[in-house]
């Protein structure tokens, strides 16, 4: 049922985008949906342990899923927006690297604090063996806990999640920027240079909003904590992808149609 409603919503949104801004709007909305899906999917990779991780009771990073993903994705958006004048592929790559870099440094510092501040080696609670390094965990796990720290697979998951988030956020930003830069000069009777600050601000605000929306949707799907791609909860991601696609389509049509509505009034 949910799937059918989602598909209908996406089709209606795409039709509206075509009706409002023709082919450019349709393509922009497709980009926004892909960006939203990347964000929703990427969040599932990020190892988040919440409150239990803050006490060494569960592996992962001791903060909320949506928050950490937002931090990484927005750092990616920062890099992507900066590289936007250099072209589409470079901006996307810059966004992905920005998000990945934040997660790489954060995950490393988490292990630095666990190891040098608390004397606790990393141990997963969900798998007995690290799928990448082959390290075994049961003997390192403290009694009465579900594991602690960030095993290497979780570190890799964090970086991949951050990169996907940065990529998705930047894609949403670039698509919206393109739409606004095409529409605004005619609407306000100004040059592209003159409207640039407003276009950048609007696209940035909408990109941040859509990023948070998709990150929170994915967090609901995860329900609490996740260790990374090796966690059984990771398999839930198809649901999040459908939800992220539908939500991005609906939010995206408002972002794309905003100026058309302004023009009407």
């Amino acid at each position: 049922m949910g799937l059918i409603v989602s598909i209908i919503l996406i089709i209606v949104a795409l039709a509206l985008a075509f009706f409002l801004v023709q082919m450019a709007g349709l393509l922009a909305l497709v980009g926004i949906i892909i960006g939203g899906v990347l964000v929703g999917f990427g969040v599932h990779f990020v190892p988040v342990g919440g409150a239990p991780a803050a006490m060494g009771q569960a592996p992962g990073i001791a903060t909320g899923v949506a928050m950490l993903a937002a931090g990484a994705g927005l750092a990616g958006l920062f890099g992507g927006a900066w590289a936007a004048p250099l072209g589409f592929p470079l901006a996307l790559a810059g966004g992905a690297i920005g998000g990945g870099l934040l997660m790489a440094i954060t995950c490393t510092m988490v292990n630095v604090v666990y190891i040098f501040g608390m004397g606790i080696p990393a141990a997963s609670g969900k798998v007995d063996k690290d799928p990448i390094t082959g390290d075994t965990f049961p003997e390192y796990k403290s009694q009465g806990t579900e594991g602690h720290g960030l095993p290497f697979i979780s570190w890799v998951g964090g970086v991949v999640g951050g990169a996907l988030g940065g990529l998705g956020g930047t894609l949403i930003y670039l698509e919206l920027l393109e739409v606004y830069q095409a529409q605004m000069p005619a609407l306000f009777g100004a040059s592209v240079e003159q409207i640039a600050p407003i276009a950048v601000s609007l696209a940035g605000v909408f990109a941040i909003g859509m990023f948070l929306m998709n990150a929170v949707l994915a967090a609901y799907n995860i329900t609490g904590t996740i260790e990374g791609p090796h966690d059984p909860k990771f398999k839930r991601f198809p649901r999040a992808i459908i939800a992220a696609a539908a939500a991005s389509a609906v939010a995206g049509i408002f972002a794309i149609g905003l100026l058309e509505l302004l023009g009407v009034f």
């Binding site: 919440g50 409150a51 991780a53 803050a54 006490m55 060494g56 009771q57 990073i61 001791a62 903060t63 909320g64 928050m67 950490l68 931090g71 990484a72 927005l74 750092a75 920062f78 890099g79 927006a81 900066w82 590289a83 936007a84 250099l86 072209g87 810059g94 690297i97 990945g100 870099l101 934040l102 790489a104 440094i105 954060t106 995950c107 490393t108 510092m109 988490v110 292990n111 604090v113 190891i115 501040g117 608390m118 606790i120 080696p121 990393a122 141990a123 003997e139 390192y140 403290s142 009465g144 806990t145 290497f152 570190w155 970086v159 600050p197 950048v200 601000s201 940035g204 605000v205 941040i208």
Partner: protein
């Protein structure tokens, strides 16, 4: 060449400001128990452990700092538009944002603690008076440093985002880095100081936080003092490195290979951090060894 050297200088300065912001952010959030260990501070009275720890966690650190830094940046931006000197504008904007933080901290403490009335947890007015101002002071340092960093990124390095938007982006990233790095140190090492060192806290010990200090009852100023030793500086280094590498790879390497230089250097930096992480992970396994259950006292 001169432009690149100028860019490197700004990058270093922005990295230093980010380091200060990160350290102040984590210490502030630990004094207010705003990071994830807040659940234990909230849980303790429900388990019968009445305490004098400040608790203002009604939002996670990233959205809270997103709000405060964006607010400080927005106000500074407005003051600058009124032709006020940028440094003064940033100070004024940050100071006004801190008042919002103060109101937030007060209502959050009263609300969270009052909700524990049926567990006989009192609202301590002296705690409210002494802790709120300390969190406000730390928040000012964090917000000022973050807004100043954002202003440098825009005015000296030419980032296209307006100041309030950049404040929101870096405010959320600041909260994410600070909560990720600093929370375990505050949660495990401080709130559960009497548990075994070098091991996680057993789930059965949840809520049994340390409530007494060397003299009298422990309060959040003691926790801030403790966090400032490692959790705060580590968070500062984390956020400082993030900002520094993000700017450095762009400023220095973007002119190479039509912009792809910055991407390649970013990948290389990520790989270097992967090696560092793996090295310390293996080092910890070898040095600390497998978990050994604590022996029961025999007499």
């Amino acid at each position: 060449m001169e432009e690149i050297i100028f860019g490197i200088g700004i990058t270093a300065l922005a990295g230093a400001l980010a380091t200060i912001a990160g350290a102040a952010e984590d210490t502030e959030s630990d004094i207010g128990s705003q990071g994830d260990p807040n659940s234990q501070v909230q849980l303790a009275p429900q388990m019968g452990y009445i305490h004098r720890i400040f608790n203002k966690a009604i939002a996670g650190e990233p959205p809270a700092y997103g709000l405060w830094v964006a607010l400080g940046a927005g106000l500074a931006w407005a003051f600058m538009a009124m032709q006020i000197n940028p440094i003064l504008a940033i100070v004024l904007g940050s100071a006004l944002a801190v008042f919002v933080q103060g109101v937030y901290a007060t209502t959050a403490y009263l609300g969270r603690t009052a909700s524990l009335a049926k567990f006989e947890q009192p609202v301590y007015i002296d705690i409210l008076k002494s802790m709120t101002t300390v969190t406000m002071a730390h928040a000012f340092v964090a917000i000022f440093a973050a807004v100043a960093m954002c202003h440098l990124i825009i005015s000296a390095l030419g980032h296209p985002f307006p100041l309030p938007l950049l404040g929101l982006v870096w405010g959320i990233a600041l909260g994410a880095a600070g909560s990720a790095t600093g929370n375990p140190f505050y949660g495990k090492e401080r709130q559960y100081q009497e548990q075994k060192f070098g091991a996680g806290v057993p789930i059965s010990a949840s809520g049994n936080i340390v409530r007494y200090a060397e003299a009298g009852e422990r309060n959040s100023l003691d926790n801030g003092f403790f966090s400032a030793k490692l959790g705060g500086p580590a968070s500062g280094i984390c956020f400082g490195l993030i900002v520094f590498f993000e700017l450095w790879r762009t400023v220095v390497f973007e002119p190479i290979a039509a912009g792809w230089g910055a991407v390649i250097v970013g990948v290389v930096v990520i790989l270097i951090f992967a090696i560092i992480d793996r090295y310390i992970e293996v080092w910890a396994r070898k040095t600390f060894g497998p978990y050994v259950a604590p022996e029961e006292a025999s007499s």
